[in-house]
């Protein structure tokens, strides 16, 4: 390799790492588009397919712009607004984010990435790579909680809600847990977003469903999905795309990335089979269902997210089994009690993302194996001092990590809930309401977009726009 005659890289760049990071980011992007867009499109009623897909595409686009124009630097900048000083509660409130500013300049795009948290591990790729990897995470989060509010949220309200939420909830949680903020510095960890993304999406979705109010009673009572193969397409892309989601989070194409990928798949397989088996022995019908299996799959993916590279293979399987079991019971029993019985979380995001993410986040405190090393590794280049690992209760870490995970969970739940509520009130004010009127809801896509998911050509007659040529052959 040394004989390579022309080296077009700056000295800090490693092409293998850059490739992995860009590939992983692309996989995560695919999880949103077309992944979540069609997974949700398949799950909603036929009359909501177009609306659901368009909210997914616009949500993704809006976060991209917001992120690059200001929010990336809020979460991953080098310059905490409070200056980075202070301790305890001061530290916490003074430094909830870094200074917002765009990364659209030539220098910003091309220089080696660094964030407030990267004091000891320099990443070997430019800011463009890092920001793009981070933005696909930021963008999938609103798409996840979209599942809670479909079937009644006003389209314009969505277009305003997403940028505000990304700025005032996501960027802050990202800074606190990943960007070097208080929670991170205290020791709470979140490998790839069990809290920042999934728990937060579950809570935001639940609160939003509550604030916006339920779907039409008729829609709720007839809420059959419209297309299961579409769900399969989305689900398959989610599963394999998650290799990038979790595999990309060491930010090195090293040993831990590989372990994270393997563990993600183990947890997911275990969770899918767990839900299936409980369905077969424990549900009223005692039948295996496809959508049940997919629910289980999602639980596994979500629950392993906070710990993917910090548990060993056995831990990963346990995470899958435990999370799937807990969410199965939550899914089947919680809707009967308050507040769940009062809130119409249409696709159940609070369960498959909220509770699964919470379960996974707490399990880090129990199952993390300190021999799983994120950066430093045994061997010739062993970097003991800079090694990054986590010890759970079962591996001699005591209750410390569990406590940190618990505190972080409380923060994410409370902060997300409160801020989501406030933001929605603001959006409601701006948009004069958060819901489409009932007569629009009764119709769905056709009323909002004048499009339907599966148009029937037989009954359509073109009336305007491009004139039909007179001389067309018939």
């Amino acid at each position: 390799m040394l004989a390579v005659t022309y080296i077009p890289y700056p000295s800090w760049l490693v092409p293998g790492d850059n490739t992995w990071q860009l590939t992983a980011a692309t996989l995560v992007g695919l999880m949103s588009l077309p992944g979540i867009a069609v997974l949700y499109a398949g799950l909603v009623q036929k009359k909501w397919v177009v609306n659901t897909m368009l909210m997914a595409f616009t949500g993704f686009s809006l976060v991209l712009l917001v992120w690059i124009l200001w929010a990336f630097n809020m979460g991953f900048g080098t310059n905490p607004i409070g200056g980075g000083g202070g301790t305890g509660i001061m530290h916490f409130f003074r430094d909830m984010v870094s200074m917002p500013h765009p990364i659209t300049g030539a220098a910003a795009e091309q220089q080696q990435t660094s964030s407030f948290s990267q004091t000891f591990v320099p990443f070997h790729f430019p800011t463009s790579t890092f920001a793009y990897f981070q933005v696909v995470f930021a963008a999938i989060t609103p798409l996840l909680f979209l599942g809670s509010v479909i079937g009644r949220i006003k389209f314009k309200a969505w277009l305003i809600f997403v940028p505000l939420w990304c700025t005032f909830v996501y960027a802050i949680d990202a800074f606190l847990l990943w960007g070097g903020g208080y929670l991170a510095s205290e020791g709470a960890v979140d490998y790839s977003g069990g809290y920042v993304i999934h728990l937060s999406a579950g809570v935001a979705g639940f609160v939003a469903a509550w604030v916006i109010g339920p779907r039409l009673a008729k829609d709720k009572a007839h809420a059959v999905p419209n297309n299961l193969p579409l769900v399969a397409i989305g689900a398959g892309i989610l599963w394999l795309g998650w290799n990038g989601f979790n595999g990309g989070d060491p930010f090195y194409a090293g040993v831990d990335a590989a372990a994270a990928v393997l563990n993600t798949n183990l947890a997911t397989a275990a969770a899918l089979m767990t839900w299936l088996v409980i369905d077969m022995v424990g549900s009223k019908e005692k039948k295996p269902t496809f959508l049940g299996a997919i629910n289980g799959m999602i639980c596994g993916l979500v629950a392993i997210t906070p710990s993917a590279g910090w548990v060993n293979g056995l831990g990963a399987i346990l995470v899958g089994v435990i999370a799937s079991t807990i969410v199965w019971f939550a899914w089947n029993y919680l809707p009967k009690i308050r507040p769940f019985s009062k809130v119409d979380d249409a696709l159940g995001v609070v369960f498959t993302h909220g509770i699964a993410g919470l379960t996974g986040g707490l399990l880090v405190g129990i199952l993390a194996d300190p021999r799983m090393i994120e950066y430093g590794v045994k061997g010739k280049n062993y970097a003991g001092a800079k090694s990054s690992f986590v010890s759970g209760l079962l591996y001699g870490g005591g209750f410390h990590q569990l406590w940190e995970q618990f505190r972080a969970a409380v923060w994410v739940i409370v902060f997300t809930a409160v801020m989501t509520y406030i933001i929605l009130k603001v959006v409601k004010f701006i948009c004069r309401g958060l819901r489409e009127p009932d007569e629009v809801l009764a119709i769905g896509d056709l009323a909002i977009h004048e499009e339907e998911a599966y148009p029937r050509e037989t009954f359509a007659e073109r009336i305007s726009s491009v004139p039909t040529r007179q001389d067309d052959r018939v």
């Binding site: 008729k218 004048e450 007659e461 305007s464």
Partner: protein, 112 residues
């Protein structure tokens, strides 16, 4: 015997079916239909081109009933399908010569 045919709004199907069950109707057949009438259709726009769809989705209910029940059936449908808005649909009845249950070859009222 009479064949009662009703064209109704799709979302009224459950109500009509329940109401008919209540008065003892044991069977009926439905087809998905498209109606053209006073109720306007709608426009769809695909890639900037407008298409006019002047047909609206309807449910078509058919049921053969004894002469004695016809009025009651019609009344029941009328009440349960009405919203008062244009497009509620129609009911018509036509004479039936013969009605047979395939399973048993029973004829007439026994076949209902």
């Amino acid at each position: 015997m009479k064949l009662v045919t009703a064209i109704i709004k799709p979302f009224k199907l459950d109500d009509v079916k329940d109401a008919l069950k209540q008065i003892g109707i044991q069977g009926l057949t439905i087809t998905e239909a498209q109606g053209f009438g006073r109720q306007g259709g709608h426009t769809e726009v695909y890639r900037g081109a407008e298409y006019s769809i002047d047909l609206v989705p309807k449910i078509r209910i058919e049921l053969v009933v004894d002469d004695s029940t016809v009025d009651n059936v019609i009344e029941t449908i009328l009440n349960s399908a009405k919203t008062g808005k244009i497009g509620d649909g129609k009911i018509w009845s036509t004479p039936v010569d013969e009605m047979i249950r395939i399973r048993t070859s029973e004829r007439g009222s026994d076949a209902l």
